[in-house]
Symmetry: D2
Subunit: 135 residues, 4 copies
């Protein structure tokens, strides 16, 4: 598992008065893809939560190249391009067919359930390192 690919169909509720998907949905789709990537790595987010970890977003960057619209079938790729440290970074690309619609990344800290910074989960970090690709 080096790159996770999640199929999403744009919901009507996600469109806006411009007739396109509102830009605030992309962070939600990134999250859906991130969760799928973690499933693929054998570290479901839910499992990490049960072990007392949280992975709050501490930074987010998005570039929007082309819009998408209601009922469009898009694919969101999530992948790792940077060696995880105290903070981990996940990268994303959103495609409709072969057209790149958007790209971006999220950065996360490891915290406990009370929101305090904790040491990263060693086995999860190892899994991320193994999934590291240079795109």
């Amino acid at each position: 598992m080096m790159k996770s690919r999640t199929a999403i169909q744009v919901r009507y509720a996600e469109t806006d008065a411009m007739g396109i998907a509102h830009h605030s949905n992309y962070p939600v789709w990134f999250e859906v893809a991130r969760v799928a990537m973690m499933d693929g790595l054998g570290f479901p987010y839910l499992e990490l939560e049960k072990q007392g970890y949280r992975l709050p977003v501490i930074a987010l960057h998005l570039q929007y190249f082309r819009p998408c619209s209601f009922a469009d079938n898009i694919n969101v790729e999530a992948f790792v391009t940077e060696r995880p440290r105290v903070r981990i970074r996940i990268d994303y690309k959103v495609f409709r067919d072969d057209i790149l619609l958007a790209s971006g990344y999220s950065e996360h800290a490891f915290t406990n359930a009370q929101g305090q910074i904790v040491k990263p989960h060693p086995a999860f970090i190892k899994a991320l390192e193994n999934a590291l690709i240079i795109v």
Copy 2:
């Protein structure tokens, strides 16, 4: 305090490809108005939560008469028309100026933080009874 009235401006993110506010925002606006009503009654929802109570929605009904659009200034009224029992019911009306855009109600159960049904909070029930109006 018999009827709470909350001013909301329609956000661009709340519009959809029809150019109007998507119908799924009205339950969110109802909630904003319900929270304001509870503030007005002297029982902020946050305070009830701290006391270990939750008020999950167990039923919701909405009627949509006229749409509203981006930047519209609407008012959401929340009020009580029914004597609260095990379940409590809050009614809502959404206006733009004097035009009724939508109406509806929500029903709630009292639960603890684990989601188990508990006896209603006596003082809050009393406050709701005092706020009871027939519209």
Copy 3:
């Protein structure tokens, strides 16, 4: 095609501070299921839109029996139980495995792109009539 069944995984963004999916997501999930049902009937909503029709929600009713949480795999059924007239009604049931989590219905009017009431799309009404089931 008598009953449409759509698989949805609860997104983290759909959860709330009670740790469950917020009640305002169910109308969005109903819509996803309604869109899938219309695809199944051979009348994709997008196609109706291109023909100049809109199907705004004019009423919505929901009952919530049990909560669902992040990463839960739910199924949303959409089906017709009432002969469509000027307004059409779609019914919904939300399941996790065999457990009924919520049910409800939406009512819709036929309008043109300007939001004016128009006569129903005859072939779509016929397709809905054929899909009519009594549950």
Copy 4:
């Protein structure tokens, strides 16, 4: 009008299972603040839309320093720090009292209603230049 400041109360629907406002709400709050800033500049977004312009988001950057929770009263500042060109950039800071919770910026292109790139609205650009501050 050099810096716009918009008060927002965190909605329950905006919280997530971590008990904090989900990170995908911040772009929505940025937009609310951007709309208020444009009102303050005398160029309401709605007015620009009526004149045939759109200002889609083409890039977005966010940094999250501290979380906020249900019912928190936050202030979102929107301001211009960069001379507007073909693309314009708006900066944001989110505060609760004096505590900086998040910061970021959005970049926008000028398009027509069909989404095609057009020359910037000259008077609006002039207003942005006048509002330019270095923070």
